[in-house]
Symmetry: D5
Amino acid sequence: MPLYAVRMDVAIPDDIDPELRAETIAREKAYSQELQRGGEWPYIWRIVGQYSNISVFDVADNERLHEILWGLPLFQWMTVEVTPLATHPSDVALADGGES
Amino acid sequence: MPLYAVRMDVAIPDDIDPELRAETIAREKAYSQELQRGGEWPYIWRIVGQYSNISVFDVADNERLHEILWGLPLFQWMTVEVTPLATHPSDVALADGGES
Amino acid sequence: MPLYAVRMDVAIPDDIDPELRAETIAREKAYSQELQRGGEWPYIWRIVGQYSNISVFDVADNERLHEILWGLPLFQWMTVEVTPLATHPSDVALADGGES
Amino acid sequence: MPLYAVRMDVAIPDDIDPELRAETIAREKAYSQELQRGGEWPYIWRIVGQYSNISVFDVADNERLHEILWGLPLFQWMTVEVTPLATHPSDVALADGGES
Amino acid sequence: MPLYAVRMDVAIPDDIDPELRAETIAREKAYSQELQRGGEWPYIWRIVGQYSNISVFDVADNERLHEILWGLPLFQWMTVEVTPLATHPSDVALADGGES
Amino acid sequence: MPLYAVRMDVAIPDDIDPELRAETIAREKAYSQELQRGGEWPYIWRIVGQYSNISVFDVADNERLHEILWGLPLFQWMTVEVTPLATHPSDVALADGGES
Amino acid sequence: MPLYAVRMDVAIPDDIDPELRAETIAREKAYSQELQRGGEWPYIWRIVGQYSNISVFDVADNERLHEILWGLPLFQWMTVEVTPLATHPSDVALADGGES
Amino acid sequence: MPLYAVRMDVAIPDDIDPELRAETIAREKAYSQELQRGGEWPYIWRIVGQYSNISVFDVADNERLHEILWGLPLFQWMTVEVTPLATHPSDVALADGGES
Amino acid sequence: MPLYAVRMDVAIPDDIDPELRAETIAREKAYSQELQRGGEWPYIWRIVGQYSNISVFDVADNERLHEILWGLPLFQWMTVEVTPLATHPSDVALADGGES
Amino acid sequence: MPLYAVRMDVAIPDDIDPELRAETIAREKAYSQELQRGGEWPYIWRIVGQYSNISVFDVADNERLHEILWGLPLFQWMTVEVTPLATHPSDVALADGGES
């Protein structure tokens, strides 16, 4: 299945109701973890010193990736950057007969 | 061990001797695969449509990462961007008691 | 099949042998037209005043798109930018029951 | 008729009245679909992970394109980028005697 | 007829044969003046302190503008930026019943 | 008299009182037209798809240009970019003995 | 221990309650000084003419650095840029047998 | 007379004949000093750590400034940025009845 | 004494109380004029078409410059850019034995 | 004495004579170490993954800093960025009565 690197930068406005803020962050976490457990969101890392993450998605196609990102509870306060990935010719998974 | 996302963009000059070019690319591949097999370079992906990769390194510290990158056979023709990573609080590896 | 918008900016160095230049441009044209006729490269437009094009690709996945772009005869003199596309909710093809 | 690639990035402010927001989006969709059906807005694609689209317009001239864009119900919350297009010499429509 | 603002930045490489350089500049001037006299290139201004100009073109459509720009003798050493123009609602030519 | 190209991008905040907005735009138009009729603002064009214009000013000097721009009713909501112009050596007005 | 250069640019919104503002700045100072005294934040300099600082951190690893930065009382109003550092081969501490 | 701030960044190619280089720099210095003594180039400062200067010109108009800059012996290896200046309302020369 | 070029861009928010706005601008003017008369702020110019100035400061050192800039009544609404200056080798003040 | 942060990015052209390259790098190291030992160049760090360093200089004034940077054996192949520094109000050296 195609892989995509996605960077998400979060900027929640100062004047958001704190309860709405906390509730949205909790929904975001649950949403992400469900996709992680389902295998479509295999990696998520925090960027040091930023309210940002770098993630890798492993999904059926562009349509599915957009559906996932558009559905993120924090989507409206995010800047999202998508980079489509392909197998690298130096990947040992190729040399060793594995799939990447 | 600390993780780092690294993006490498390669631009080999047009007038490089083709043999030197081929030999350098072969050395780059061997160098990368040795580090992949050793566990310090766990992921490498090609960026679609670019002579570029996004990689993740899992190394002892900044010194070791610099040593690896500086030693890349293609280093002098690369633009390199390093992003230090940390565990993301939504990572299911945390929730499930695993290590990330 | 997934769609991708791709912008290609071409910069052929001044000191290229004119015959090599002409021959590469001819191969580029043949390569593009074969993919257009095969349905994987449905649109190609010249950007006014630029040695550039905006194209749309309709291919199996990221891997196939990279294979096509990497194989472009002018690839080494191009800057390439890939934007993954999805169906737009306002597209009349949806409203009219067609596929987009 | 001249073609133009247009990228639209939408950023609706957080504090817009939800009804006004929904009503404006509905008017935007109707406005777009009327122009799609009329043939002046032949392509519209969602950019994956963005509240953005890439569109192609096929209109009489610059004046008509500006009239259409200025009239977009979401115009005041959009960033718009216009790229004039011309026929590409590799377009098979030329080789095959068609019009592009 | 549609108008376009075009900015051209010229960067002739140092190692160009001086005769070729002089001859190309002379051809550029003749080419420009023929289009100025024909009415398609109504304005050309030098940008102070730059080897650059800002011009206005008044041509049939995108295709014709591209044909003109692509044919510039200095084209291969230029960076070109095209901005499509429309009538401004404050233009007195409108208020006074003239055409702009 | 010296010429200047000026680009103005307008961004009126969402929460401006609609009457103030309409009245300011009306004053802007009157202000512009008076200067157009007086000969100091010879050209004004709308940029297609933008709340922006490209104008040419023909004024006594830098001081006068700043006085005009600073006095624009929409000035506080504008981003302004000034490019000083000079006669271009290819201008046919020179070749034909006219003044540019 | 690994070193990191960190640039922090502060932009406190105009409409923050002055007491909250003062109290947050005081907490920031105390937080910074505790880390300075503990040896993890060895250098902090003001950038001339900016509400910004350049700092050097000397911490166990990426995780610890993120924990520190995320905990900054002003974090939500900061733009933070992290640059991982390594020993420079010209550093006299190396030549003289010291540690850097 | 109108004032202009001008920033010049110099980048002489590596492979220039050393004699030509030295001779061009000497001509640049003589050219600059003649204009300084004539009053049209009242200020020139080196930017610390750059092969660059910030200058102020006090010339008749845009045409004269372009003539001076275009004639700089180093012009073809420079990047030039021109900023037109006007009297500042806080300038004490105004308050004290002097000329600025 | 060391010189510094400083560019200040002012952006006063729309919703500032008009009296506070006027009073702050008046204090800014007085503050600037006192430093001009004291010799530490020898030049201040308005940038044409911008709410901005380019100034030159002649102060004891970095600490003093920061103290002055930080104390500007408009500081919180300014973007400030500082460029340290040195004597230019072409400055006639050197050739003529003067100090620059 | 005033402090300055300086970032240096090195790009030695491919076609430099290897001996000249090695000799210049050796002179750069000696030059740097002499200034480090003399106290004017107290810190130098390698940026991970870059042929770059971040340094801190502690020098008499702008003139001296420019003299040092201009004299760097690698200067012509460097991009240099200078940031003047001042004491930070949170610096414990102040709180503890020390000098910063």
